[in-house]
């Protein structure tokens, strides 16, 4: 049964494990002309291995910025993020990229498939970047797993939105990441496609024992996670 909590305070770690992902005092400010805009402030959170966490909030609440910081795609104005024990921002950009390549999978609202590549090639890409020789076989298997065995040679423009997001799921899980970061994974999909994609996402998450952090404004989707955090005006709130 999914359990729903809402807290501004970090979840106390279980005694026998340390969190896979932890944010401590994370803040993000940007300057816009003479004014300083606070996007995130004092974010504290910890995600345990295997946990599924949803971060919900209205548009402009800073969800995507938080996800970018948790992934090390952006740098914070304050605070630290630890991924699997490593302080992300003590690493340089290239080292963070390597860490991502090893441990993190992504699913985006806009899919982010490369338009020039076929479905198969899109899934092969992270494996190829990691220098895996069995890239094609593994990618085929994963695409078959998401139900796209017949669409390997199709380019994204010739796939439906739901199919594109399945390809994106296959690309995310094919490297067996420890952490999956999902940014509004159903934001671009109709209700039927969204339901299918979500089923698949949680199934794969279970099978791969992946830790999931999902940003969404869809409460029903958030409800399927183990825990839900609310973000409002740049702060995690109850």
């Amino acid at each position: 049964m999914p359990r729903m909590t809402a807290s501004n305070a970090p979840v106390p770690p279980a005694d026998d494990a340390r969190p896979l992902l932890a944010a401590k005092g994370v803040g993000k400010k940007v300057r816009s002309g003479d004014t300083e805009l606070v996007i995130l402030q004092g974010i504290e959170l910890a995600v345990m291995p295997g946990e599924a966490l949803a971060i919900v909030g209205a548009s402009g609440s800073g969800k995507s910025t938080l996800l970018a910081l948790l992934a090390g795609l952006d740098t914070p104005s304050a605070g630290t993020v630890e991924l699997d024990g490593a302080d992300l921002f003590a690493l340089d950009e290239d080292a963070r990229a390597e860490l991502r390549g090893r441990e993190v999978g992504f699913v985006f609202q806009s899919f982010q498939l490369l338009p020039a590549l076929t479905a198969l090639e899109n899934v092969m890409l992270p494996l190829e970047l990691a220098g895996r020789r069995d890239a094609e076989r593994a990618a085929r298997d994963e695409l078959a797993r998401v139900g796209l065995a017949e669409r390997l040679g199709h380019r994204p423009a010739h796939l439906s939105g739901g199919e594109q997001q399945r390809v994106a799921l296959a690309r995310a899980f094919v490297v067996h990441p420890k952490l999956l970061l999902a940014d509004e994974p159903t934001g671009s999909l109709d209700a039927d496609s969204a339901a299918g994609v979500i089923e698949l996402l949680f199934e794969l998450n279970r099978e791969h024992r992946t830790t999931l952090v999902m940003v969404t404004h869809d409460e029903s989707l958030a409800a399927r996670c183990d825990r839900v955090l609310r973000l409002a005006a740049g702060r995690l709130a109850a």
Binding site: L67, A68, A97, R100, G101, F106, A116, L125, E128, A157
Partner: protein
């Protein structure tokens, strides 16, 4: 890593991402190599045919017989050889009678006799006709023993038709043909007399060559360059007094001038092709980078390091460069082959096979262009932040135009290399760099004005299409400025080719006009000048300038005695060995140009000499050097006060040294003049020699025709190469237009989604392109005209008048080109459903 890079290449190629870039690169390499291949072949042909004027690759000239060892050495080195003996002798024939010995009506004429071996000439051809005025044909070899060939003048002077008999010394010969063309027909002592060509084996039987006879012995050699060079070195080391070696370089200044000019034209053309290539590559890469920003962000997100991305894309581009350059080289070869085949008659000579060097050059050009113009933007690609996957506005490709500095530097190096002439390269590169910067700024300003609120209001009353179009102009001001500047650059190159092709070539033709003099009259005595002038005027020949001529020998330089031994250079020795034709004049000849010092020959000024640039360089004369000449036992000394540049190809009377009248007037003087006579005026020439029997009338018509032929051929070659680069320029222009197609398609799709009609979409594009075309065309016209003038004045040394139609041609071409593009682009946009366009671009 290499495997992945190649797979990326294959994927991008399949997706059509590389089509434009590969095409631009292949076109660039193809144009560079086809010009290179063709120029290589033309240069080879020019060099070979220019040898026609020498009759061989190499001529060894001596005033005494050559040792047999020299002749044997030619053969030993695998070179072809031929031999000639030239001397002046009286030829006799009975008037209209085959038996000159019959007596009474014997006609005599001093003839320039040239006795040649069977293999003469080694380069070029002899042409003969069965009768004066009859069509001529090439002859496989010289006259057979026992026969002679006479030129037309000698035929008419002796009254000896083909089949008639001519006596030369102790022997009679049958006239076998009329000689219409021979190599070496230049201006020289032996050419003053009409030509008689005979077989070398017959010379002893004439008994004309005795001890003390003035005979010139010439050995000719021709063959592969390496062997020729080796023999040249060998022979040079063994030259004795009275012997010299002539090759094309030392032989004929007028031919050399033409070839140098041709090489500059070809260099310029290759250079412009390379500039067009650079523009296309830059545009192609920009498009590639813009389309790969997202892909790079995703790959960064998936764990690729910056170094990895750079290496992957670098390798992908390297592979692309190799493949496209290979295709380009092949295409260039096929293109030049096909074009040389179909346009062979225009070139007017058979072209030798190209050397592989242009292919190698093309390859290097392709890679340098790609690395110079593609690598800097690719570096930008690696810097794309992974954040872009979440925030699209992150890592937008900013107009980092500074990154093209490396490309520009690479291109500059290439251009100078291609031009083979630093000054020419520098002018064109400088011109284009200035034009590029100026164009971008001017284009931006001009587009701002066109898109200003006032102009928009003006159109506001009418259809909405112009308003949308102008609004687009405003929105895209910066991008459009770059686009317009690129287009203007491409158009500039095309227009510059157009301008130079027509005008520079015309100006060149004017320098060697078809009315070049074809008669020189020598030996006019001071008291005959007035009479000769009156004669020429009364026979409709006009009033050619008559120049005084004093023959003097250079005896000292700055007080130090000078002899031929003072110089190591063969040509310099030859110059010093003989008497100079000195002249005097108060004013410099109109067709000479003072390039250093000042003309100081006007009356009342201190004595000073004006010397020709080439001889001054060869003999090491500088301004202020005191030269002492000996004229008939008396000497005079004067400083060099000016250096003149001559136009040898103008065929006018030219002097190496011109002194002030006050200094030279007292010396024995004869006069010389040159003018053109029509074939119908030959009788007047006969009357001239009858009226003034001491005059020597030199028919240089044949020499002029020969030189003119070579020059015409050079012009044909240059024009052809120009045509090809013009075609390449148009292709590159198209590439530039396609480069922004994506963005416009997307915008048009959005417009249609928002309810714009097809006419509105097409109309707004038309207005936008029309404005851009107008601005690009106007800029290109100004740029091309300016560069053309600069080139004409500074490099080619020609006057280039401005042409009215050229001022219109640019804008018209720009508008036409972009209207066509707007039409094609609108068709494409309207054919694809907006939904698909948007989905593909999302």
């Amino acid at each position: 890593m290499i495997g992945l890079a190649l797979r990326m290449l294959a994927r991008d190629a399949r997706a059509g991402e590389l089509r434009l870039l590969a095409a631009a690169l292949a076109v660039a390499v193809a144009s560079v190599t086809s010009v290179g291949f063709f120029a290589d072949r033309v240069s080879q042909a020019l060099l070979r045919d220019a040898h026609q004027l020498l009759g061989a690759d190499l001529a060894l000239v001596s005033d005494h017989p050559w040792a047999s060892a020299v002749s044997e050495e030619i053969a030993r080195r695998g070179l072809e050889r031929a031999q000639a003996e030239s001397f002046v002798s009286m030829a006799q024939a009975g008037a209209g009678d085959a038996t000159p010995s019959a007596g009474a009506s014997l006609r005599s004429q001093l003839a320039g006799v040239k006795a040649v071996s069977a293999s003469y000439p080694l380069r070029g051809t002899l042409r003969i006709a069965p009768a004066p005025g009859a069509p001529d044909a090439p002859a496989a070899h010289g006259p057979a023993p026992g026969t002679v060939w006479l030129d037309e003048r000698l035929v008419s002077a002796l009254g000896a038709p083909v089949g008639g008999r001519v006596r030369l010394g102790a022997r009679e010969f049958t006239v076998a043909a009329v000689l219409t063309l021979e190599p070496e027909r230049g201006i020289g002592f032996f050419n003053l007399a009409p030509r008689l060509l005979m077989n070398l084996a017959d010379v002893p039987s004439t008994e004309l060559v005795q001890t003390g006879s003035r005979v010139t012995y010439t050995l000719y050699a021709a063959g592969p360059r390496a062997a020729r060079r080796a023999f040249e070195r060998w022979a040079r080391a063994r030259l004795e007094r009275g012997q010299r070696l002539e090759d094309l370089e030392s032989g004929r200044p007028e031919v050399r001038a033409s070839i140098e000019r041709a090489q500059r034209f070809l260099g310029l053309t290759a250079l412009l092709a390379a500039i067009l290539a650079g523009v296309a590559i830059a545009l192609g890469t920009r498009r590639f980078v813009e389309r790969h920003l997202d892909a790079c962000a995703v790959m960064r997100c998936l764990g690729a390091t910056q170094a990895r991305l750079l290496a992957l894309y670098g390798l992908e581009f390297l592979a692309l460069g190799l493949a496209a350059s290979t295709v380009g080289c092949f295409g260039g070869y096929v293109a030049q082959e096909a074009l040389a085949g179909t346009l062979g008659s225009l070139i007017g000579t058979e072209l030798p096979a190209p050397t592989p060097l242009p292919a190698l050059q093309g390859f290097l050009v392709g890679l340098v262009l790609l690395l110079g113009f593609a690598l800097p933007p690719l570096v930008q690609l690696k810097n794309v932040p992974a954040l872009r996957v979440i925030r699209r506005e992150a890592g937008r490709s900013r107009g980092a135009y500074a990154v093209y500095a490396a490309g520009a530097a690479a291109l500059t190096g290439l251009l100078v290399w291609q031009a083979g002439d630093v000054r020419l390269g520098a002018y064109v590169v400088g011109g284009f760099a200035l034009a590029a910067a100026g164009f971008a700024v001017l284009a931006w300003l001009a587009l701002r004005v066109l898109a200003s609120a006032r102009v928009a209001r003006f159109f506001g009353a009418g259809s909405s299409a112009p308003r949308y179009g102008l609004a687009n102009l405003r929105r895209h001001a910066r991008g459009n400025a770059v686009q317009v500047a690129s287009l203007a650059l491409g158009l500039t190159a095309v227009l510059l080719l157009g301008f130079t092709r027509n005008d520079l070539v015309d100006a060149w033709r004017r320098a060697a006009p078809p009315d070049a003099p074809n008669r020189f009259v020598l030996g006019i005595q001071p008291d005959q000048v007035a009479g000769v002038k009156a004669f020429l005027a009364s026979h409709g020949i006009g009033a050619p300038e008559i120049f005084p001529m004093v023959r003097g020998r250079l005896v000292a330089e700055n007080g130090r005695p000078v002899s031929e031994k003072s110089f190591a250079d063969e040509r310099a020795r030859h110059l010093v060995e003989r008497e100079f034709n000195l002249s005097f004049a108060a004013e410099p000849p109109g067709y000479n140009r003072i390039v250093a010092g000042r003309w100081a020959n006007a009356r009342g000024q201190p004595a000073g000499l004006s010397v020709e640039q080439g001889i001054a360089e060869r003999l090491g004369w500088k301004l202020g050097d005191e030269l002492t000449f000996s004229v008939g036992g008396q000497t005079f000394t004067a400083p060099v006060t000016s250096v003149r540049k001559l136009r040898w190809d103008s065929m006018k009377v030219n002097f190496f040294v011109i002194g002030p009248p006050a200094l030279l007037e007292g010396f024995p003087t004869s006069f010389i003049t040159a003018f053109r006579v029509a074939p119908a005026q030959d009788a007047a020439m006969n009357a001239l020699t009858q009226g003034f029997q001491n005059l020597t009338v030199v028919d240089i018509g044949a020499a002029v025709r020969q030189a003119q032929g070579v020059i015409d051929q050079l012009i044909s070659a240059v024009q052809f190469v120009f045509l090809f680069a013009l075609g390449a320029g148009v292709l590159v222009l198209y590439s530039a237009l396609v480069a922004t197609e994506d963005e416009r398609r997307r915008e048009a799709a959005v417009m249609r989604v928002c309810g714009a009609s097809r006419a509105q979409v097409a109309g707004s594009q038309r207005v936008e392109f029309l404005a851009m075309g107008l601005v690009a065309g106007a800029l290109a016209t100004v740029g091309a005209a300016a560069i053309g003038q600069l080139l004409a004045l500074r490099v080619f040394d020609l006057e280039l008048p401005l042409n009215g139609w050229e001022l219109v041609a640019g804008p018209v071409a720009g508008v036409a080109l972009l209207s066509l593009n707007a039409w094609v682009s609108a068709r494409k946009v309207l054919k694809t459903s907006p939904a698909l366009t948007l989905r593909e671009s999302s």
